[in-house]
Protein backbone atom coordinates (compact mmCIF):
# COMPACT_ATOMS: atom_id res chain seq x y z
CA UNK A 1 0.00 0.00 0.00
CA UNK A 2 2.77 2.39 1.03
CA UNK A 3 4.77 1.43 -2.05
CA UNK A 4 1.77 2.15 -4.27
CA UNK A 5 1.20 5.50 -2.59
CA UNK A 6 4.88 6.35 -2.88
CA UNK A 7 4.86 5.40 -6.53
CA UNK A 8 1.74 7.46 -7.11
CA UNK A 9 3.26 10.38 -5.26
CA UNK A 10 6.41 10.14 -7.33
CA UNK A 11 4.41 9.98 -10.50
CA UNK A 12 2.38 12.99 -9.49
CA UNK A 13 5.53 14.95 -8.70
CA UNK A 14 6.87 14.00 -12.11
CA UNK A 15 3.71 15.22 -13.84
CA UNK A 16 3.74 18.47 -11.90
CA UNK A 17 7.37 18.98 -12.87
CA UNK A 18 6.49 18.49 -16.53
CA UNK A 19 3.63 20.99 -16.28
CA UNK A 20 6.00 23.44 -14.63
CA UNK A 21 8.67 22.95 -17.35
CA UNK A 22 6.19 23.51 -20.16
CA UNK A 23 4.58 26.36 -18.24
CA UNK A 24 7.90 28.09 -17.69
CA UNK A 25 8.80 27.68 -21.34
CA UNK A 26 5.42 29.10 -22.37
CA UNK A 27 5.97 31.99 -19.98
CA UNK A 28 9.33 32.73 -21.64
CA UNK A 29 7.60 32.57 -25.01
CA UNK A 30 4.60 34.77 -24.22
CA UNK A 31 6.56 37.32 -22.21
CA UNK A 32 8.41 38.08 -25.43
CA UNK A 33 5.21 39.11 -27.18
CA UNK A 34 5.62 42.74 -28.13
CA UNK A 35 2.04 43.42 -27.20
CA UNK A 36 3.02 43.00 -23.56
CA UNK A 37 5.37 45.95 -23.69
CA UNK A 38 2.71 47.96 -25.44
CA UNK A 39 0.28 47.02 -22.69
CA UNK A 40 2.66 48.07 -19.91
CA UNK A 41 3.41 51.35 -21.69
CA UNK A 42 -0.29 51.83 -22.28
CA UNK A 43 -1.01 51.23 -18.61
CA UNK A 44 1.25 54.15 -17.76
CA UNK A 45 -0.61 56.30 -20.28
CA UNK A 46 -3.88 55.20 -18.73
CA UNK A 47 -2.65 56.30 -15.32
CA UNK A 48 -1.76 59.70 -16.72
CA UNK A 49 -5.12 59.97 -18.46
CA UNK A 50 -6.92 58.88 -15.32
CA UNK A 51 -5.16 61.53 -13.25
CA UNK A 52 -6.07 64.15 -15.82
CA UNK A 53 -9.68 63.03 -15.89
CA UNK A 54 -9.78 62.93 -12.14
CA UNK A 55 -8.58 66.52 -11.93
CA UNK A 56 -11.60 67.76 -13.88
CA UNK A 57 -14.15 65.55 -12.19
CA UNK A 58 -15.45 68.11 -9.73
CA UNK A 59 -14.02 66.47 -6.64
CA UNK A 60 -14.74 62.92 -7.75
CA UNK A 61 -11.07 62.19 -8.41
CA UNK A 62 -10.79 59.15 -6.13
CA UNK A 63 -13.88 57.59 -7.67
CA UNK A 64 -12.66 58.23 -11.21
CA UNK A 65 -9.19 56.87 -10.44
CA UNK A 66 -10.68 53.71 -9.02
CA UNK A 67 -13.27 53.11 -11.73
CA UNK A 68 -11.07 54.02 -14.72
CA UNK A 69 -7.95 52.40 -13.27
CA UNK A 70 -9.59 49.07 -12.49
CA UNK A 71 -11.58 48.98 -15.73
CA UNK A 72 -8.43 49.70 -17.73
CA UNK A 73 -6.55 46.97 -15.88
CA UNK A 74 -9.26 44.45 -16.63
CA UNK A 75 -9.48 45.52 -20.26
CA UNK A 76 -5.72 45.39 -20.85
CA UNK A 77 -5.38 41.98 -19.20
CA UNK A 78 -8.26 40.67 -21.30
CA UNK A 79 -6.54 41.96 -24.45
CA UNK A 80 -3.38 40.03 -23.55
CA UNK A 81 -5.40 36.97 -22.66
CA UNK A 82 -7.43 36.92 -25.85
CA UNK A 83 -4.48 37.84 -28.08
CA UNK A 84 -1.93 35.44 -26.59
CA UNK A 85 -4.31 32.72 -25.45
CA UNK A 86 -5.83 32.16 -28.86
CA UNK A 87 -2.40 31.80 -30.42
CA UNK A 88 -0.87 29.48 -27.85
CA UNK A 89 -1.62 26.24 -29.62
CA UNK A 90 -1.63 27.60 -33.14
CA UNK A 91 1.85 29.09 -32.73
CA UNK A 92 3.31 25.75 -31.69
CA UNK A 93 1.76 24.10 -34.74
CA UNK A 94 2.73 26.86 -37.15
CA UNK A 95 6.34 27.04 -35.91
CA UNK A 96 6.45 23.24 -35.74
CA UNK A 97 7.77 23.31 -32.19
CA UNK A 98 4.85 21.06 -31.36
CA UNK A 99 6.91 18.15 -32.66
CA UNK A 100 9.51 18.91 -30.02
CA UNK A 101 6.98 18.58 -27.20
CA UNK A 102 4.51 15.93 -28.24
CA UNK A 103 7.14 13.39 -29.26
CA UNK A 104 8.51 13.48 -25.72
CA UNK A 105 6.88 11.40 -22.95
CA UNK A 106 4.46 14.25 -22.30
CA UNK A 107 0.75 13.59 -22.53
CA UNK A 108 -1.42 16.11 -24.31
CA UNK A 109 -3.15 16.81 -21.02
CA UNK A 110 0.13 17.83 -19.40
CA UNK A 111 1.06 19.87 -22.44
CA UNK A 112 -2.21 21.81 -22.38
CA UNK A 113 -2.06 22.38 -18.64
CA UNK A 114 1.51 23.60 -19.08
CA UNK A 115 0.39 26.10 -21.75
CA UNK A 116 -2.38 27.30 -19.43
CA UNK A 117 0.04 27.71 -16.56
CA UNK A 118 2.54 29.59 -18.73
CA UNK A 119 0.04 32.17 -19.92
CA UNK A 120 -1.39 32.47 -16.42
CA UNK A 121 2.13 33.29 -15.18
CA UNK A 122 2.50 35.98 -17.85
CA UNK A 123 -0.88 37.50 -17.08
CA UNK A 124 -0.05 37.43 -13.37
CA UNK A 125 3.20 39.28 -13.94
CA UNK A 126 1.55 41.98 -16.04
CA UNK A 127 -1.33 42.15 -13.55
CA UNK A 128 1.13 42.60 -10.70
CA UNK A 129 2.90 45.40 -12.54
CA UNK A 130 -0.36 47.22 -13.24
CA UNK A 131 -1.71 46.41 -9.80
CA UNK A 132 1.36 47.87 -8.14
CA UNK A 133 1.02 51.03 -10.24
CA UNK A 134 -2.59 51.30 -9.10
CA UNK A 135 -1.76 50.71 -5.42
CA UNK A 136 0.98 53.35 -5.53
CA UNK A 137 -1.44 55.80 -7.13
CA UNK A 138 -4.04 55.26 -4.43
CA UNK A 139 -1.40 55.48 -1.71
CA UNK A 140 -0.14 58.79 -3.09
CA UNK A 141 -3.73 60.06 -3.10
CA UNK A 142 -4.05 58.90 0.48
CA UNK A 143 -7.10 56.73 -0.18
CA UNK A 144 -5.56 53.26 -0.23
CA UNK A 145 -7.56 50.50 1.45
CA UNK A 146 -5.01 47.75 1.07
CA UNK A 147 -6.94 44.52 1.59
CA UNK A 148 -10.07 45.41 -0.43
CA UNK A 149 -7.93 46.79 -3.27
CA UNK A 150 -5.73 43.70 -3.38
CA UNK A 151 -8.85 41.52 -3.29
CA UNK A 152 -10.31 43.43 -6.24
CA UNK A 153 -7.07 43.04 -8.21
CA UNK A 154 -6.94 39.34 -7.35
CA UNK A 155 -10.43 38.87 -8.69
CA UNK A 156 -9.52 40.69 -11.87
CA UNK A 157 -6.65 38.20 -12.24
CA UNK A 158 -9.02 35.34 -11.50
CA UNK A 159 -11.32 36.51 -14.25
CA UNK A 160 -8.32 36.68 -16.61
CA UNK A 161 -7.40 33.10 -15.75
CA UNK A 162 -10.92 32.01 -16.62
CA UNK A 163 -10.70 33.84 -19.94
CA UNK A 164 -7.39 32.03 -20.61
CA UNK A 165 -9.31 28.78 -20.23
CA UNK A 166 -11.98 30.10 -22.61
CA UNK A 167 -9.40 31.10 -25.22
CA UNK A 168 -7.54 27.78 -24.86
CA UNK A 169 -10.83 25.96 -25.32
CA UNK A 170 -11.60 27.75 -28.57
CA UNK A 171 -8.03 27.56 -29.86
CA UNK A 172 -7.99 23.80 -29.37
CA UNK A 173 -10.24 23.46 -32.41
CA UNK A 174 -10.44 26.85 -34.17
CA UNK A 175 -7.94 29.06 -35.99
CA UNK A 176 -6.52 32.04 -34.06
CA UNK A 177 -8.74 34.73 -35.60
CA UNK A 178 -11.93 32.70 -35.09
CA UNK A 179 -10.86 31.79 -31.55
CA UNK A 180 -10.22 35.42 -30.77
CA UNK A 181 -13.66 36.43 -32.06
CA UNK A 182 -15.44 33.64 -30.18
CA UNK A 183 -13.54 34.40 -26.98
CA UNK A 184 -14.28 38.10 -27.30
CA UNK A 185 -17.99 37.43 -27.84
CA UNK A 186 -18.15 35.06 -24.89
CA UNK A 187 -16.48 37.70 -22.72
CA UNK A 188 -19.05 40.28 -23.85
CA UNK A 189 -21.94 37.95 -23.09
CA UNK A 190 -20.29 37.04 -19.81
CA UNK A 191 -20.22 40.68 -18.79
CA UNK A 192 -23.83 41.20 -19.83
CA UNK A 193 -25.08 38.51 -17.51
CA UNK A 194 -26.99 40.85 -15.20
CA UNK A 195 -28.65 42.56 -18.19
CA UNK A 196 -29.61 39.16 -19.59
CA UNK A 197 -31.13 38.16 -16.29
CA UNK A 198 -33.14 41.37 -15.98
CA UNK A 199 -34.49 41.05 -19.52
CA UNK A 200 -35.34 37.37 -18.97
CA UNK A 201 -37.43 38.16 -15.91
CA UNK A 202 -39.66 40.44 -17.96
CA UNK A 203 -39.87 38.24 -21.05
CA UNK A 204 -42.39 35.66 -22.24
CA UNK A 205 -41.83 32.12 -20.84
CA UNK A 206 -40.12 30.79 -23.99
CA UNK A 207 -37.70 33.72 -24.21
CA UNK A 208 -37.18 33.60 -20.46
CA UNK A 209 -36.15 29.96 -20.70
CA UNK A 210 -33.78 30.70 -23.56
CA UNK A 211 -32.19 33.68 -21.83
CA UNK A 212 -31.82 31.83 -18.54
CA UNK A 213 -30.12 28.98 -20.38
CA UNK A 214 -27.69 31.44 -21.93
CA UNK A 215 -27.19 33.03 -18.52
CA UNK A 216 -26.15 29.73 -16.93
CA UNK A 217 -24.30 28.37 -19.95
CA UNK A 218 -22.05 31.32 -20.61
CA UNK A 219 -19.44 32.28 -18.02
CA UNK A 220 -20.88 34.82 -15.64
CA UNK A 221 -17.91 37.17 -15.52
CA UNK A 222 -19.71 39.81 -13.49
CA UNK A 223 -19.29 37.54 -10.47
CA UNK A 224 -15.61 38.53 -10.46
CA UNK A 225 -16.43 42.22 -10.40
CA UNK A 226 -15.50 43.65 -7.02
CA UNK A 227 -14.90 47.07 -8.56
CA UNK A 228 -18.24 48.45 -7.39
CA UNK A 229 -17.57 47.29 -3.86
CA UNK A 230 -14.22 49.05 -3.87
CA UNK A 231 -15.60 52.27 -5.33
CA UNK A 232 -18.37 52.52 -2.77
CA UNK A 233 -16.41 51.09 0.14
CA UNK A 234 -18.80 48.18 0.57
CA UNK A 235 -17.73 45.03 2.37
CA UNK A 236 -17.65 41.68 0.66
CA UNK A 237 -19.18 38.62 2.21
CA UNK A 238 -16.70 35.78 2.76
CA UNK A 239 -19.31 33.28 1.63
CA UNK A 240 -19.72 35.28 -1.57
CA UNK A 241 -15.96 35.16 -2.21
CA UNK A 242 -15.87 31.41 -1.65
CA UNK A 243 -18.80 30.94 -4.01
CA UNK A 244 -16.98 32.90 -6.72
CA UNK A 245 -13.82 30.83 -6.18
CA UNK A 246 -15.88 27.66 -6.49
CA UNK A 247 -17.44 28.97 -9.69
CA UNK A 248 -13.99 29.77 -11.08
CA UNK A 249 -12.67 26.29 -10.32
CA UNK A 250 -15.76 24.54 -11.67
CA UNK A 251 -16.11 26.53 -14.87
CA UNK A 252 -12.35 26.50 -15.65
CA UNK A 253 -12.30 22.73 -15.15
CA UNK A 254 -15.14 22.29 -17.62
CA UNK A 255 -13.37 24.40 -20.24
CA UNK A 256 -9.98 22.76 -19.72
CA UNK A 257 -11.48 19.28 -19.86
CA UNK A 258 -13.25 20.12 -23.12
CA UNK A 259 -10.03 21.65 -24.49
CA UNK A 260 -8.18 18.47 -23.48
CA UNK A 261 -10.72 16.34 -25.26
CA UNK A 262 -10.21 18.39 -28.42
CA UNK A 263 -6.41 18.33 -28.04
CA UNK A 264 -6.42 14.55 -27.65
CA UNK A 265 -8.17 14.23 -30.97
CA UNK A 266 -5.84 16.67 -32.69
CA UNK A 267 -3.50 15.51 -35.41
CA UNK A 268 -0.32 17.41 -36.09
Amino acid sequence: MTTTLKALGGRLRGQIRLIWLIGLNTFKETIRDRILYLIVVFSIIVIAATLLAASVSLGQDVRVIKSFGLQAMLFLLLVITVFSGTQLIWREIERQTIYFILTKPVSREIWLLGKYLGLALTVTLVGLIMGTEFLILLKVKGVLELIPTIATICFILLESYLVIAISLFFSSFAAPLSSAIYTFLVVLVGHSSSTLWLISQKASPAIKYLLETIYYLFPNLEKFNLRNELIYGLTVDRAQLLAVLGYFVGYSLVLLLLALAAARRGEY
Binding site: G14, R17, L18, L21, I22, N25, K28, E29, R32, R95, Q96, T97, Y99, F100, I101, L102, T103, K104, P105, V106, S107, E267, Y268
Partner: protein, 241 residues
Protein backbone atom coordinates in the same frame (compact mmCIF):
# COMPACT_ATOMS: atom_id res chain seq x y z
CA UNK B 1 11.83 -3.47 -31.09
CA UNK B 2 9.50 -1.66 -33.51
CA UNK B 3 6.54 -3.48 -34.95
CA UNK B 4 4.22 -1.94 -37.55
CA UNK B 5 1.28 -4.20 -38.30
CA UNK B 6 -1.21 -3.66 -41.13
CA UNK B 7 -1.04 0.08 -40.82
CA UNK B 8 -3.55 2.17 -42.73
CA UNK B 9 -4.04 5.91 -42.75
CA UNK B 10 -6.53 7.89 -44.78
CA UNK B 11 -6.96 11.64 -44.42
CA UNK B 12 -10.00 13.70 -45.48
CA UNK B 13 -12.48 11.54 -43.54
CA UNK B 14 -11.89 8.55 -45.78
CA UNK B 15 -12.72 10.33 -49.00
CA UNK B 16 -9.23 10.53 -50.47
CA UNK B 17 -6.84 7.77 -51.42
CA UNK B 18 -4.96 6.28 -48.46
CA UNK B 19 -1.76 7.97 -47.37
CA UNK B 20 -0.55 4.63 -45.96
CA UNK B 21 -1.99 1.31 -47.10
CA UNK B 22 -1.60 -1.98 -45.30
CA UNK B 23 1.99 -1.45 -44.16
CA UNK B 24 3.71 -4.09 -42.05
CA UNK B 25 7.36 -3.76 -40.97
CA UNK B 26 9.27 -5.24 -38.03
CA UNK B 27 12.58 -3.94 -36.78
CA UNK B 28 14.85 -5.98 -34.60
CA UNK B 29 17.14 -4.48 -32.01
CA UNK B 30 20.36 -2.91 -33.29
CA UNK B 31 19.09 -2.68 -36.85
CA UNK B 32 19.52 0.39 -39.07
CA UNK B 33 16.40 0.49 -41.21
CA UNK B 34 15.87 2.94 -44.05
CA UNK B 35 12.54 4.00 -45.50
CA UNK B 36 12.99 4.99 -49.10
CA UNK B 37 10.49 6.67 -51.32
CA UNK B 38 9.95 9.61 -53.67
CA UNK B 39 8.47 12.91 -52.44
CA UNK B 40 4.90 12.40 -51.27
CA UNK B 41 5.30 8.64 -50.87
CA UNK B 42 4.19 8.81 -47.24
CA UNK B 43 7.52 8.57 -45.40
CA UNK B 44 6.82 11.45 -43.06
CA UNK B 45 3.24 10.24 -42.52
CA UNK B 46 4.54 6.83 -41.44
CA UNK B 47 7.00 8.45 -39.06
CA UNK B 48 4.29 10.72 -37.61
CA UNK B 49 2.13 7.63 -37.10
CA UNK B 50 4.97 5.93 -35.23
CA UNK B 51 5.56 8.96 -33.00
CA UNK B 52 1.85 9.41 -32.24
CA UNK B 53 1.53 12.81 -33.87
CA UNK B 54 -1.27 11.39 -36.01
CA UNK B 55 -3.53 8.42 -35.37
CA UNK B 56 -3.80 5.38 -37.67
CA UNK B 57 -7.11 4.69 -39.36
CA UNK B 58 -6.44 1.02 -38.63
CA UNK B 59 -3.52 -1.17 -37.68
CA UNK B 60 -1.08 -1.19 -34.83
CA UNK B 61 2.35 0.20 -34.03
CA UNK B 62 4.23 -1.02 -30.97
CA UNK B 63 7.63 -0.22 -29.54
CA UNK B 64 8.86 -2.97 -27.24
CA UNK B 65 5.26 -4.17 -27.15
CA UNK B 66 4.07 -0.80 -25.92
CA UNK B 67 1.65 1.28 -28.04
CA UNK B 68 3.93 3.69 -29.89
CA UNK B 69 1.81 6.75 -28.96
CA UNK B 70 2.00 5.98 -25.23
CA UNK B 71 4.27 8.03 -22.97
CA UNK B 72 6.04 4.82 -21.96
CA UNK B 73 7.02 4.17 -25.57
CA UNK B 74 8.09 7.80 -26.06
CA UNK B 75 10.31 7.49 -23.01
CA UNK B 76 12.52 5.06 -24.97
CA UNK B 77 12.32 6.82 -28.33
CA UNK B 78 14.33 9.68 -29.74
CA UNK B 79 12.83 11.58 -32.66
CA UNK B 80 14.36 13.90 -35.21
CA UNK B 81 11.71 15.57 -37.42
CA UNK B 82 12.23 16.67 -40.97
CA UNK B 83 13.56 20.25 -40.82
CA UNK B 84 13.44 20.46 -37.02
CA UNK B 85 12.25 23.72 -35.49
CA UNK B 86 12.87 24.83 -31.93
CA UNK B 87 12.11 27.74 -29.64
CA UNK B 88 14.13 30.55 -31.16
CA UNK B 89 14.48 32.45 -27.89
CA UNK B 90 16.29 29.60 -26.13
CA UNK B 91 19.96 28.81 -26.51
CA UNK B 92 21.41 25.34 -27.20
CA UNK B 93 21.98 24.47 -23.57
CA UNK B 94 18.53 25.68 -22.47
CA UNK B 95 16.80 23.69 -25.18
CA UNK B 96 18.71 20.49 -24.46
CA UNK B 97 18.07 20.90 -20.74
CA UNK B 98 14.39 21.40 -21.45
CA UNK B 99 14.36 18.27 -23.59
CA UNK B 100 16.12 16.39 -20.81
CA UNK B 101 13.63 17.68 -18.25
CA UNK B 102 10.74 16.50 -20.41
CA UNK B 103 12.31 13.04 -20.37
CA UNK B 104 12.36 13.18 -16.60
CA UNK B 105 16.09 13.76 -16.24
CA UNK B 106 17.11 15.72 -13.17
CA UNK B 107 18.71 19.10 -13.70
CA UNK B 108 22.30 17.99 -13.20
CA UNK B 109 22.02 15.01 -15.51
CA UNK B 110 20.26 17.10 -18.15
CA UNK B 111 22.97 19.74 -17.91
CA UNK B 112 25.78 17.21 -18.22
CA UNK B 113 24.13 15.45 -21.16
CA UNK B 114 23.51 18.79 -22.87
CA UNK B 115 27.21 19.66 -22.83
CA UNK B 116 28.27 16.17 -23.94
CA UNK B 117 25.84 15.99 -26.81
CA UNK B 118 26.47 19.54 -27.99
CA UNK B 119 30.12 18.58 -28.24
CA UNK B 120 29.31 15.35 -30.04
CA UNK B 121 27.21 17.02 -32.72
CA UNK B 122 29.66 19.88 -33.21
CA UNK B 123 27.78 22.62 -31.34
CA UNK B 124 30.11 22.93 -28.34
CA UNK B 125 31.01 26.50 -29.30
CA UNK B 126 27.31 27.41 -29.64
CA UNK B 127 26.05 26.30 -26.23
CA UNK B 128 25.02 29.83 -25.25
CA UNK B 129 24.02 30.89 -28.71
CA UNK B 130 20.37 31.71 -29.39
CA UNK B 131 18.71 29.18 -31.69
CA UNK B 132 17.19 32.04 -33.65
CA UNK B 133 20.68 32.60 -35.12
CA UNK B 134 21.16 29.00 -36.23
CA UNK B 135 21.60 27.87 -39.81
CA UNK B 136 19.66 24.94 -41.24
CA UNK B 137 22.57 22.58 -40.66
CA UNK B 138 22.90 23.71 -37.05
CA UNK B 139 19.19 23.02 -36.54
CA UNK B 140 19.73 19.54 -37.86
CA UNK B 141 22.64 18.87 -35.50
CA UNK B 142 20.71 20.28 -32.57
CA UNK B 143 17.77 18.08 -33.53
CA UNK B 144 19.98 15.01 -33.36
CA UNK B 145 21.29 16.08 -29.96
CA UNK B 146 17.68 16.46 -28.74
CA UNK B 147 16.85 13.00 -30.07
CA UNK B 148 19.79 11.54 -28.11
CA UNK B 149 19.27 13.44 -24.85
CA UNK B 150 17.74 10.50 -23.00
CA UNK B 151 20.04 7.92 -24.64
CA UNK B 152 17.07 6.09 -26.18
CA UNK B 153 17.30 2.55 -27.51
CA UNK B 154 15.21 3.51 -30.57
CA UNK B 155 15.82 6.48 -32.84
CA UNK B 156 13.30 7.69 -35.41
CA UNK B 157 14.96 10.09 -37.87
CA UNK B 158 13.07 11.85 -40.66
CA UNK B 159 15.43 12.83 -43.49
CA UNK B 160 18.35 13.21 -41.03
CA UNK B 161 20.93 14.17 -43.66
CA UNK B 162 18.79 16.88 -45.22
CA UNK B 163 20.37 20.32 -45.11
CA UNK B 164 23.84 19.14 -44.11
CA UNK B 165 26.96 20.00 -46.03
CA UNK B 166 29.22 17.06 -47.15
CA UNK B 167 31.32 17.26 -43.96
CA UNK B 168 28.20 17.38 -41.82
CA UNK B 169 26.77 14.41 -43.68
CA UNK B 170 29.91 12.38 -43.23
CA UNK B 171 29.93 13.21 -39.53
CA UNK B 172 26.27 12.29 -39.20
CA UNK B 173 26.72 8.95 -40.92
CA UNK B 174 29.70 8.23 -38.68
CA UNK B 175 27.55 9.01 -35.64
CA UNK B 176 24.76 6.73 -36.82
CA UNK B 177 27.19 3.87 -37.24
CA UNK B 178 28.59 4.60 -33.78
CA UNK B 179 25.11 4.44 -32.34
CA UNK B 180 24.47 1.22 -34.15
CA UNK B 181 27.67 -0.12 -32.65
CA UNK B 182 26.27 0.69 -29.22
CA UNK B 183 23.19 -1.39 -29.95
CA UNK B 184 20.74 1.36 -30.90
CA UNK B 185 17.92 0.64 -33.29
CA UNK B 186 17.59 3.30 -35.95
CA UNK B 187 14.64 3.88 -38.25
CA UNK B 188 15.25 6.65 -40.75
CA UNK B 189 13.70 7.94 -43.92
CA UNK B 190 15.62 9.32 -46.85
CA UNK B 191 15.56 9.87 -50.55
CA UNK B 192 19.39 9.97 -50.84
CA UNK B 193 20.15 6.48 -52.05
CA UNK B 194 23.92 6.57 -51.68
CA UNK B 195 23.61 7.27 -47.97
CA UNK B 196 21.04 4.54 -47.55
CA UNK B 197 23.26 2.03 -49.31
CA UNK B 198 26.15 3.06 -47.07
CA UNK B 199 24.56 2.78 -43.63
CA UNK B 200 21.30 0.87 -43.95
CA UNK B 201 21.02 -2.79 -42.90
CA UNK B 202 17.60 -3.09 -44.49
CA UNK B 203 15.66 -0.88 -46.83
CA UNK B 204 11.93 -0.55 -47.54
CA UNK B 205 10.81 1.11 -50.76
CA UNK B 206 7.40 2.72 -50.54
CA UNK B 207 5.34 4.57 -53.08
CA UNK B 208 1.90 6.14 -52.66
CA UNK B 209 1.71 4.76 -49.11
CA UNK B 210 2.34 1.15 -50.12
CA UNK B 211 5.32 -1.08 -49.42
CA UNK B 212 6.86 -2.15 -52.72
CA UNK B 213 9.96 -4.01 -51.67
CA UNK B 214 11.85 -4.72 -48.46
CA UNK B 215 15.28 -6.21 -47.95
CA UNK B 216 19.00 -5.48 -47.63
CA UNK B 217 20.44 -2.88 -50.04
CA UNK B 218 22.17 -5.69 -51.91
CA UNK B 219 18.98 -7.72 -52.18
CA UNK B 220 17.03 -4.71 -53.43
CA UNK B 221 19.73 -3.79 -55.95
CA UNK B 222 19.56 -7.36 -57.26
CA UNK B 223 20.73 -7.49 -60.83
CA UNK B 224 20.64 -3.70 -61.31
CA UNK B 225 23.83 -1.67 -61.53
CA UNK B 226 22.99 0.39 -58.48
CA UNK B 227 20.44 0.78 -55.76
CA UNK B 228 19.36 3.96 -57.51
CA UNK B 229 18.42 2.17 -60.69
CA UNK B 230 16.64 -0.53 -58.75
CA UNK B 231 14.72 2.09 -56.84
CA UNK B 232 13.72 4.04 -59.95
CA UNK B 233 12.66 0.80 -61.61
CA UNK B 234 10.41 -0.18 -58.71
CA UNK B 235 8.76 3.23 -58.58
CA UNK B 236 8.17 3.39 -62.35
CA UNK B 237 6.68 -0.10 -62.37
CA UNK B 238 4.37 0.85 -59.57
CA UNK B 239 3.33 4.12 -61.17
CA UNK B 240 2.45 2.40 -64.44
CA UNK B 241 0.69 -0.52 -62.77
Amino acid sequence: MLNISRLNKTFSRGLGSPAVADLSITLSQGEVFALLGPNGAGKTTIIKLITGLIRPTSGQITINNLPSSSTAAKQITGYLPEQPQFYRYLNTKELLELAGGLFGLDRQTASRRSIELAKRVGLAADLKRSIGQFSKGMHQRLGLAVALINDPPLLILDEPLDGLDPIGRADFKKLILELKGRGKTIFFSSHILADVAEIGDRVAIINRGRLLKIGSPAAITGGQKSLELAFVGEINNDNHA
